[in-house]
């Protein structure tokens, strides 16, 4: 029998604009988490994530992206959040996967795919310098009404 995957854990559809969405009480019973964000933003700021409410400078990122300005790559450390998509005021599809999120012996990493048609496409890796299991995720961005967030668990 195939191993179940993409088990639905939570879905949020915004009834009005919001600057953050928090998913709490995430069970530790999966190997990976996958978040699908779909929708438009009200400005061009990146979508970012924080784990377990940690607002400290404990995150680092590296990304490669393509915009109208060309292809580029950059990195930054001691950030207060990881990347969960660089979106624009157009319908976008952003995918972020947290690997081995419930382990307690390793820093947590995520892989991200940012998709804003015509404006930006990118891939990113983020690290949260903390060995705690992730039990909540907060997404920050200028989310418009109608934005959807779907969280799935993947069993190893």
């Amino acid at each position: 029998m195939p191993t179940p995957t993409y088990t639905p854990l939570a879905t949020v559809t915004l009834a009005s604009s919001a600057s953050s969405v928090t998913l709490s009480n995430i069970p530790a019973s999966y190997r990976d988490l996958i978040l699908i964000h779909n929708g438009a933003l009200t400005n061009t700021d990146n979508i970012v994530w924080r784990a377990n409410g940690d607002t400290g400078s404990n995150y680092s990122i590296v990304q490669a992206l393509a915009t109208s300005g060309g292809a580029s790559s950059n990195s930054s450390a001691s950030r207060t959040s990881g990347l969960a998509g660089s979106s624009y005021t157009q319908q976008s599809a952003n995918i972020t996967q947290w690997l081995d999120y419930s382990a307690t012996d390793k820093h947590k990493t995520s892989l991200g795919r940012a998709n804003s048609p015509t404006s930006e496409v990118g891939m990113s890796a983020s690290r949260w310098a903390n060995t705690a299991a992730i039990n909540s995720l907060t997404l920050l961005g200028a989310f418009a009404s109608g934005n959807t967030f779907s969280l799935y668990g993947v069993i190893a």
Partner: protein, 167 residues
């Protein structure tokens, strides 16, 4: 994630199409393993009929990288310039495919080649139509070789009753 249908080409064809896609899922995922009989690596994705497509592409070829507004959605292994018996790999993700807004999608694609030149292509795509996606087609310039495979899956959103959300 549940398999809707998988197609393996027994003979060469110019395209592979899925029709009558069930409307009880939230997202669609497409996995492709493709090779074509001409020296053209480009393939396109299309839904239903009509509409316009806009894309942003990040592509590397083993020695350089570009950013542009592409007219293609994925790369496939070509008959010349790539190692015999190798096929490309692609994953396409389409969220909210039954929704009533324009459809955005993500495509990650690579060609396989035992040489310096191989392509890695990321696409952010948008289809302008607001209709639900009921059919999906992958098309190449000439024909896809026998042995090419495309599999279509659906993912259904929901809640486990444990995770809480705010707002």
């Amino acid at each position: 994630m549940k398999l809707i249908e998988s197609k393996t080409l027994g003979t060469a064809q110019a395209s592979i199409e899925f029709t009558s896609i069930p409307q009880d899922g939230t997202d669609l995922v497409v996995f492709c393993s493709l090779r074509t009989n001409v020296n053209a690596i480009a393939a396109t994705l299309s839904f239903n009929t009509g509409g316009t497509y806009t894309r942003r592409r990040l592509q590397g070829d083993g020695s350089s990288v570009i950013s542009d507004t592409a007219s293609v959605d994925l790369v496939v292994n070509a008959s010349t310039g790539t190692t015999t018996n190798t096929f490309s790999n692609t994953q396409i993700y389409i969220p909210n495919y039954t929704g009533s807004t324009a459809k955005s999608y993500s495509s990650d694609s690579v060609t396989e080649n035992n040489s310096t030149e191989a392509y890695q292509t990321l696409i952010a795509g948008r289809w302008s139509e607001t209709a639900a996606i009921t059919s999906l087609k992958i098309t190449v310039a000439n024909t896809l070789d026998a042995g090419s495979i495309i599999s279509l899956y659906k993912i259904t959103k929901g809640s486990d009753g444990i995770v809480t959300t705010s707002p």
